[in-house]
C-alpha cells in the first residue's frame, strides 16, 4: 500500500484527546474528562496537528476554541477506527483477565526435581498466567528465550547473559558424600586440607566462578567431575577415594541452601523487556514463598 514512514504515527490516545477537546471546545474541560492536565491535552493536540499536518483548533481573543473544517472531517471519519481500537482493547484486557499463556521451560533434570515441584506449586498459586511447562536443553536456553519460544527458563548454576534478565531464586543446598556415606556439613574451611569434587554442569564459566568462590571462603581448590564418573561414584560410594568429599547439589528437596557455603543458585531467566511486566515480581515472590 504505502511506505511505512509515510503513514501518520497517530496513537489511540491522541484520537481520544481530540474527541474530548472537540466535544468540550476547551482544553481545560477536556483535561478534566481525561484525568489529565490542560498543558498535557494542549501538547497532545499540538502533536497530532504536527503529525497530520493540519490545524485542528482555532482560538479567538476570548480563548474559546473552534474546530477547523479539518477537525470536523477527522472527527466524523474516525469513529470506525475508535470503535475498532476499543474492541481491540477489550479483547486484550479480556486476555489479561482470563490469563495469558506463560511457557515455563526447564532442563529435563530439573523437571524431575523436588525443588521444581515446590516452586511450581508456589508460582501457580500466585500468578495470573496460564502456565504450561516445556523441557529444554540448557545449551540452547538463551536462543529459545530470545526467540520467544519460551518465556521463562529455570536453571541451576548457569551463567547469566547480557540480553537476559536473571532472577535469583536462592542457593542450592549441598549434600556431602564420602566413601563412608553421607557426611555432615561444617564450614567451607573444613575442605582446606583434603580433596573434594563437584559435578561438572557443562557451564565452564559458572564452574570456574564457583570453584573460585570456594577458594575465597578458605577451601582447597576443588575439582569438577564428569557426569558419568559422578554417577558411578554416587551409585557406589565405596569407590570414592578415601578422604575425598563429594559435594552433591541437592535439588531433590525443596529447600534453600545456607549462605555460608558458596553454591550454585537456582535462577529464572527471562528476556529483557518481556511484555509481561509483572512477571519478574511474581517469580521473586514464588522463590521466597511469599
Amino acid at each position: 500500500m504505502d511506505q511505512y514512514h509515510l503513514l501518520p504515527r497517530i496513537t489511540f490516545r491522541q484520537l481520544e484527546v481530540l474527541r474530548a477537546v472537540f466535544r468540550e471546545r476547551s482544553f481545560s474541560h477536556a483535561a478534566l474528562d481525561l484525568h489529565s492536565t490542560r498543558g498535557n491535552v494542549k501538547r497532545m493536540c499540538g502533536e497530532l496537528e504536527q503529525i497530520l499536518g493540519g490545524v485542528l483548533f482555532e482560538q479567538d481573543e476570548v480563548g474559546a476554541l473552534s474546530p477547523t473544517a479539518f477537525a470536523h472531517t477527522l472527527v466524523s471519519q474516525m469513529s470506525p477506527l475508535v470503535r475498532s481500537v476499543r474492541k481491540l482493547e477489550d479483547a486484550v484486557s479480556m486476555m489479561h483477565q482470563t490469563g495469558r499463556v506463560l511457557r515455563l521451560a526447564a532442563t529435563p533434570r530439573l523437571f524431575e526435581s523436588g525443588w521444581f515441584t515446590g516452586f511450581l506449586r508456589r508460582f501457580r498459586s500466585h500468578c495470573p498466567f496460564r502456565v504450561c511447562c516445556l523441557m529444554l536443553d540448557e545449551r540452547r536456553f538463551r536462543t529459545a528465550l530470545l526467540n520467544a519460544e519460551c518465556d521463562v527458563f529455570l536453571g541451576c548454576g548457569l551463567t547469566p547473559s547480557d540480553k537476559l534478565d536473571t532472577i535469583d531464586l536462592g542457593p542450592v543446598p549441598w549434600q556431602f558424600v564420602t566413601a563412608g556415606g553421607p557426611a555432615a556439613a561444617g564450614l567451607p574451611e573444613q575442605l582446606a586440607d583434603h580433596p573434594w569434587w563437584i559435578e561438572d554442569n557443562g557451564d565452564p564459566e559458572a564452574m570456574e566462578r564457583l570453584l573460585d568462590a570456594f577458594q575465597q571462603a578458605g577451601a582447597a581448590r576443588g575439582r569438577a567431575a564428569s557426569p558419568t564418573a559422578w554417577a558411578e561414584w554416587l551409585a557406589k560410594p565405596a569407590t570414592i577415594p578415601a578422604g575425598t568429599t563429594l559435594l552433591v547439589a541437592d535439588t531433590d528437596n525443596d529447600a534453600h541452601g545456607s549462605h555460608v557455603w558458596p553454591s550454585h543458585h537456582y535462577a529464572a531467566f527471562i528476556r529483557r523487556n518481556h511484555p509481561y511486566s509483572e512477571l519478574k515480581s511474581f517469580l521473586e515472590s514464588a522463590a521466597h514463598g511469599i
Binding site: Y4, P80, M95, L146
Partner: protein, 312 residues
C-alpha cells in the same frame, strides 16, 4: 495501551507472511525496525505475539487471538488515512489520476504533465496504475483511473465506467527481420513456439489471464516463454528488437501509427471476440465531487480531439 496504530500493519503483515525480510521489504523499513516495532507493540499490549526463529516468525496462541481485532483496526486505520487524503485533495481541488501503461495512457500522462490538456477544473496529479486498481479506486487511493480491460474483466458495480474505445479481437505483431509468420494464412498456435511479449494487468486488466487460459484450453499448450511488460511501449520496443512476438488486445497498430513499418501484424479472433478490448475512464460509483467528474469529461474530450482514439 499506548502504541502507534500503524505498527499493527506491520504486525498483520508479519503474521501473514511469517517473514521479517518480506515484511521489511513490503513496508520499506529495515529488518531490525520490524523487530523493534513488534517488540514495542508486544510491550504495549502486554502479550507475546510471535515466536521467532531464524527462518521467521510464527504467531503464538495469544497472537492468534489478537490478529482478527488488529485486522479490524488496520482496516479502519487505512480507511481514515484514505479519507483524510481524499479530503486534502478536495480542499486543494486536486484530482489524482492513475494512468495505464498503454500508448494512449502514456501519451496522456505526458500531455498532462506538460499542461497541454485544456479545460481542467482541478489540478490533476498523475501516477502509475497499480495492479488490482479497482479495489484501490474504491479505497480512494486515487480518484480516476484510465485503463484498458479485456472482455468483462475489471468490471465492478462499485466503479463507474465511461467507455472511450472498444475494439474487436487481438493483435499479434512481430518484426519481419526476426520472425516469418504467414499473414495470409495465419495460424495462432505457431506463435506459441517462440517468446510471447505480453502487456500485464497495468495495461489491460484480464488480458494476461485470458491469454494463458486461451492457450491452455484451445491448444493445450503454453507459450515457450512469456515476458510481461508494464507498458505497451516497452513491449513494442522489445518486439522491434526481435525478442519475440507481441500479443495485445484490440487494434495494437492503430496505437502505434508511426511505427507500422517496423512490424508485420495480424488481427485475429475478430469475430470470436467482438468486444474484446475496452478502453475507458473509471471513477467510484458514488463519486459526487464535481472536480473529479469534470476532469474525467475534460480528459475524454481531449483524447477524442487529439485523435488518440481515432481509428482508420
Amino acid at each position: 495501551m499506548e502504541f502507534e496504530l500503524r505498527s499493527l500493519l506491520v504486525f498483520r503483515h508479519l503474521a501473514g507472511s511469517g517473514s521479517f525480510s518480506d515484511t521489511a521489504k513490503h513496508w520499506g523499513i529495515s529488518q531490525p525496525a520490524v523487530s523493534l516495532t513488534i517488540s514495542k507493540l508486544e510491550t504495549a499490549v502486554g502479550l507475546v505475539l510471535f515466536e521467532r526463529s531464524p527462518t521467521g516468525a510464527r504467531l503464538t496462541t495469544d497472537g492468534h487471538a489478537f490478529l482478527p481485532r488488529a485486522d479490524d483496526v488496520c482496516q479502519s486505520y487505512a480507511g481514515l488515512i484514505d479519507g483524510l487524503r481524499t479530503w486534502n485533495r478536495r480542499q486543494s481541488s486536486e484530482v489524482l489520476l492513475a494512468c495505464d501503461g498503454s500508448s494512449i495512457g502514456r501519451q496522456l500522462m505526458a500531455d498532462l504533465e506538460a499542461g497541454s490538456v485544456p479545460n481542467l477544473a482541478a489540478t490533476v496529479t498523475v501516477r502509475d496504475l497499480v495492479e488490482n486498481w479497482g479495489a484501490a479506486l474504491e479505497e480512494s487511493r486515487f480518484d480516476l483511473a484510465i485503463s484498458g480491460r479485456f472482455l468483462r474483466a475489471g468490471l465492478d458495480s462499485n466503479t463507474q465506467e465511461a467507455v472511450l474505445l472498444r475494439e474487436r479481437g487481438i493483435t499479434v505483431a512481430w518484426n519481419p527481420m526476426f520472425h516469418s509468420f504467414d499473414t495470409q494464412r495465419f495460424s495462432f498456435p505457431e506463435i506459441l513456439k517462440s517468446t510471447v511479449l505480453l502487456p500485464n494487468a497495468k495495461v489491460a486488466v484480464g488480458f494476461d489471464d485470458f491469454f494463458r487460459r486461451w492457450c491452455d484450453e484451445a491448444y493445450g499448450v503454453q507459450p515457450a516463454h512469456v515476458m510481461s511488460f508494464d507498458t505497451e511501449v516497452a513491449a513494442a520496443s522489445a518486439c522491434k528488437a526481435g525478442l519475440g512476438v507481441m500479443v495485445a488486445p484490440g487494434d495494437l497498430m492503430a496505437r502505434f501509427p508511426g511505427e507500422k513499418v517496423h512490424f508485420e501484424s495480424v488481427r485475429t479472433f475478430e469475430f470470436l471476440l467482438p468486444q474484446a478490448f475496452t478502453y475507458g475512464i473509471y471513477c467510484r460509483a458514488e463519486e459526487a465531487s464535481k472536480e473529479v467528474l469534470s476532469t474525467a469529461a475534460a480528459i475524454s474530450s481531449y483524447l477524442v480531439k487529439k485523435g488518440l482514439l481515432a481509428r482508420s
